[in-house]
C-alpha cells in the first residue's frame, strides 16, 4: 500500500470500517514513521476540533424564531381579492378589489373566469372570492372612462414591488391620448438605465387601463407590445383621443 492510499483512509478508520482496512492501515503505519507522524497530526487536528466547546445560543433564540414565524402565519392568510365583472365602454372588465380599492383589472378577452382567478392568485398572491360590483366601483370606473384619468387613491398597488409601483405611477403622468417611451418612464423614476425593467413592469401591470401602460411605447414610437394585443392597445389609445400613428 502506498502512503497516499493509506492517508486517504485515515478518516475512514476513525469510524466503522472493515477489519481488513483497519489492519492494512495499521500495518502501513507501523512500518512507515513518516506516515505515523502525519497520522498523529491528523488525529490531533480532529481531536482539537472535536474538543471545541459547544457554544450556547442566547436563551431566547427559540422565542425569537417562534415570534418571527407567527408574523409569517398572519401574512400567509392575506385578505382576499373580491372578483367581479363590470360593463364599460370598452366591453366587459374583470375587476378585483379589496378594502374599497381596485387591485386588478382584466379585459374580458373571451377567456373563462377561472383563468382570471388563477392569474390574480399568482400575480398578487392572494386568495380570490367572487362578488358583485359595489356602487363605488361603478362610480370609479364611470369617472375613469369619462376622463381617462385615474383616481390613484382608488387603486391598490401595495402587492407590487416598489419599482413596479413607481413605474406605474409614472405612466399616470402621461396625458390621455399621448404616448411616451419605456426609457421616458425609466428616466422619470430616476432609473435611466432600467428601460427594459420598465417594459417588464408594464407587462406585469395588474391594473391596466387605470394605470395606462398602453401609453408606453418603444423609442421609435411603435406600439411595440400589449398583453391584450396591439389591436386593443391602438383601440384604447384611439378611444382616449390619440390621433397619430395606428
Amino acid at each position: 500500500m502506498r502512503c497516499r492510499d493509506v492517508e486517504a483512509m485515515w478518516d475512514e478508520i476513525r469510524g466503522h470500517c472493515t477489519a481488513s482496512v483497519r489492519d492494512a492501515v495499521d500495518g502501513h503505519l507501523r512500518a512507515c514513521p513518516h506516515c505515523q507522524d502525519l497520522y498523529e497530526q491528523f488525529e490531533g487536528v480532529a481531536y482539537c476540533l472535536s474538543c471545541l466547546p459547544q457554544p450556547e445560543p442566547s436563551c431566547d433564540l427559540t422565542k425569537k424564531v417562534v415570534e418571527h414565524i407567527a408574523l409569517i402565519k398572519d401574512r400567509v392568510r392575506p385578505e382576499p381579492i373580491v372578483l367581479t365583472s363590470v360593463q364599460t365602454p370598452l366591453g366587459t372588465l374583470f375587476v378585483g378589489f379589496k378594502e374599497q380599492r381596485i387591485a386588478y383589472v382584466g379585459i374580458d378577452a373571451g377567456g373563462d373566469i377561472e383563468a382570471v382567478r388563477s392569474q390574480i392568485e399568482h400575480r398578487l398572491r392572494r386568495p380570490v372570492v367572487a362578488g358583485e360590483p359595489p356602487e363605488w366601483l361603478r362610480a370609479t370606473l364611470d369617472d375613469f372612462f369619462r376622463t381617462w384619468v385615474v383616481d390613484e387613491s382608488s387603486v391598490d398597488l401595495s402587492d407590487l414591488t416598489e419599482f413596479e409601483q413607481a413605474a406605474l405611477r409614472a405612466t399616470a403622468q402621461i396625458p390621455p391620448g399621448e404616448v411616451r417611451s419605456y426609457s421616458w418612464v425609466a428616466d422619470r423614476i430616476g432609473k435611466p438605465r432600467a428601460a427594459r425593467a420598465v417594459g417588464r413592469a408594464m407587462a406585469r401591470n395588474p391594473v391596466p387601463l387605470l394605470y395606462p401602460c398602453h401609453r408606453v411605447v418603444n423609442a421609435a414610437g411603435d406600439l411595440h407590445n400589449y398583453g391584450y394585443g396591439l389591436e386593443m392597445k391602438a383601440r384604447i389609445l384611439r378611444m382616449e383621443g390619440h390621433n397619430r400613428g395606428s
Partner: protein, 219 residues
C-alpha cells in the same frame, strides 16, 4: 518516539461529536406549534454550526433564525408525501449552510474578535472533575481560540466539511447529503481541510501523547 498508531488510537479519546438525536417525526411538523418543537430541538446544534462557519455570534443567531423561517415556509409548501420522506436534520443543516453562504458572500474574510468565541464558561461547564484552576482555563481558552481561528482561515467548502465531520460528528454519507456532493468529494474535502489546519496549527499538534495519559497541548 515509538508510539504506534493503534496505541495512539486507544489512548486518545475518540471524536464523538454531539450525540445522535432520533429524528423528529415530520408528520406533525406542518403546524407552527409542532414546528416550535423542531426549533427547540435543533437550534443549539444549528447555532453551533453557524458560529463555527462565521465566527460571529450575532451572525450565527440571525442565520439560525433565518434558516428556521425558511424551513417553516418550505414545509408549508411541501406535499404531505414529500414531508413524510424528508430527513429533517440534514435538511436543516443544508438550509443553514445556504443562508450562511448568502450572508458571507461578498464579505471579506472574517477578522474575528476571538475573545467573543472562546467561552470560559463553556470550558468550565465541560470540565469533568472539579473546578479547573484559573491558569488552566486561560491556557485552554487560548488553545480553543487558536483552533477556532485556524478553522475560520479555511475556505468555506473545507470549513463546512471539517465542521460537519469533526465538530458536528456527522458521517460521510450524511455530509454528502447536506452538501449535495458525492461522498468521494466529501472525503477529499475533509482530508484537505485537515491538511490545511495541520499546516496552520503547526506540526506539534498530536505530539504530546505521553504514557498513560492523553494530553493535547497546542503549544
Amino acid at each position: 518516539m515509538s508510539a504506534l498508531a493503534p496505541l495512539l488510537k486507544e489512548s486518545m479519546p475518540q471524536v464523538a461529536g454531539p450525540k445522535p438525536v432520533p429524528p423528529t417525526p415530520l408528520k406533525a411538523v406542518a403546524g407552527a406549534d409542532s414546528f416550535e418543537r423542531v426549533v427547540d430541538e435543533y437550534q443549539r446544534r444549528l447555532y453551533g454550526f453557524a458560529l463555527r462557519m462565521t465566527g460571529n455570534r450575532e451572525d450565527a443567531e440571525e442565520i439560525v433564525q433565518d434558516a428556521f423561517v425558511r424551513a417553516y415556509r418550505a414545509l408549508g409548501k411541501m406535499a404531505p408525501e414529500q414531508r413524510a420522506e424528508l430527513r429533517i436534520q440534514p435538511w436543516l443543516y443544508t438550509i443553514t449552510l445556504n443562508v450562511t453562504r448568502n450572508r458571507l458572500r461578498g464579505r471579506k474574510p472574517t477578522n474575528v474578535a476571538l475573545d467573543a468565541l472562546a467561552d470560559p464558561d463553556a470550558l468550565l461547564r465541560g470540565a469533568q472533575e472539579g473546578p479547573p484552576q484559573p491558569e488552566t482555563i486561560v491556557e485552554q481558552n487560548a488553545e480553543v481560540a487558536l483552533v477556532e481561528k485556524a478553522l475560520l482561515q479555511l475556505p468555506m467548502h473545507l470549513r463546512a466539511a471539517a465542521t460537519l465531520r469533526f465538530i458536528e460528528g456527522r458521517s460521510h454519507p450524511e455530509i454528502a447529503e447536506i452538501l449535495h456532493q458525492p461522498i468521494g468529494t466529501v472525503k477529499s474535502h475533509v482530508h484537505r481541510a485537515v491538511r490545511v489546519l495541520r499546516r496552520i496549527l503547526g506540526p506539534q499538534i498530536g505530539r504530546t501523547v505521553t504514557e498513560g495519559e492523553t494530553e493535547h497541548a497546542l503549544s
